[in-house]
Amino acid sequence: MTRPAIELTDVSCTFLSEDGGVHSHYTAVRGVNLTVGTGEFVSVVGPTGCGKSTLLNMSAGLLEPSQGAVRIFGEPLVGLNRRAGYMFQADSLMPWMSAIDNVSAGLVFNGMNKSEARDRAAEWLRRVGLSGFENSYPHHLSGGMRKRVAMAQTLIMDPDIILMDEPFSALDIQTRQLMENELLALWAAKRKAVLFITHDLDEAIAMSDRVVVMSAGPESHPIGQFLIDLPRPRDVAEVRVTPRFIELHTAIWSVLREEVLKGYQRNRGN
């Protein structure tokens, strides 16, 4: 049996904070068991503030769990996850570098010589539809274009795992659907393990092989998972109106809605 790409076993994460001398702690997630198989596209959905990003950061090695184990392809994770690429929600491109320098950055960091890295970066920019914009700076580009540069920057490294934190939530709906289709097309070429965080249930179902629902925070944990057996290749706009999609949507939403309301109530009560 092949080892899963990501395996979180009984993972908890507690944050300590000091607010004007008062120490408090907040447990974002507790007792989480989650696996992502090689080549599997898994989405995690849940109400706001339920610790989805915490799970992602632990898988990336940016955060250490307070309890439990994180295993990457069977090996315990120590330090940064070198086999993963990460796409952030907010802008993470280096603003002082042009598009092509941003895309080639990862290759340069890992020792490739600059001209070869640039050639590859130019090729990737062409693949994401940005040829002609190699020398533009991020602030010259629209939000969608910046996301495409970020995608190229991440995928050029050919990581075995792709971690994505609501990467398209800041875009308008039309651009978002374009980007979702782009991502699926690029992913289809070499199916990597993907862990995709989103609020958008439609997006999650349209894109993934499996959807995991998290409970409301604090001490959030998965409360359900659903296999998405929609055939590939999918177009994210068209798949939404198929009967099977609607069935899945109804089923998942019935679980998710409870948690969203719970999360809302808890925030109101505070």
Partner: protein, 281 residues
Amino acid sequence: MNPLKHAKRMAFRLRTWQIGLLVMIFVFWHVMTKPGLVPAVVFDNDAQAAFFFGEPLEIFTRIWEWFVTNADIYVHLWTTLVETVLAFVIGTITGGAVGMWLALSPFAAAVADPFIKGLNSMPRVILAPIFAVWFGLGIASKVALGVTLVFFIVFFNVYQGVREVNPNVLASARMLGASKGQLMQYVYTPSAMSWVFSSLHTSVGMAFVGAVVGEYLGSSKGVGYLILQAEGVFDINTVMAGILVLTAFALVLDWGVGLIERRAMRWQPRAGSSVTLKGGI
């Protein structure tokens, strides 16, 4: 009229008005100080105004002598320029290094905090005579004064620039595999440099002030020295000439800095971000 022509016309109008205003000021100055042209209003007799304010024609004669006839100002201009540039470079490198170090070592920063605040609050121009005693009347004491002025500006800007690196950008670079040295080169330094460039005008200005004030308080060369000598014999025309030369010099420096700034800040969305000036005199 097409927009480009319109813009050029507006710029031409602007320049005309500015030059016109400058000429008017000198004409007024001349009229008020040339003995015999205007009856004395403030002073006892009409020769005294020239004594206090100098006469433009005399001033321009002196400038002409400096630059053309005797051509003896160049060694002084050069001295002042060298002092300014040295103060700027040394102040920037030391301020940048210390700012980078403290931004990346929170404990060292906490320990150093009151000392830095104290040193910054001290009116450092007072140090000029002390520097003269320590370093002599040569350029070293002027450079030292300039450095104390430039250091704090650059320090505070680099400190903020490094601490305020966008955490997503930093995490992204780390995930892409950047080593500590690469993070320094590709993330921290560019982030800090953008803050430094936005304060470049002020730092260069301060280096210049340090040079001239240092010369003024004791020197044997430099434009500040020329002004000092002239004041000693109440030669107001030379003093004014010196001030005008310094002003023109400062404008040229400023223009040069503007060129560098525009080139270095190409990647920023807005030119000239507002920076709180924490360094002071």
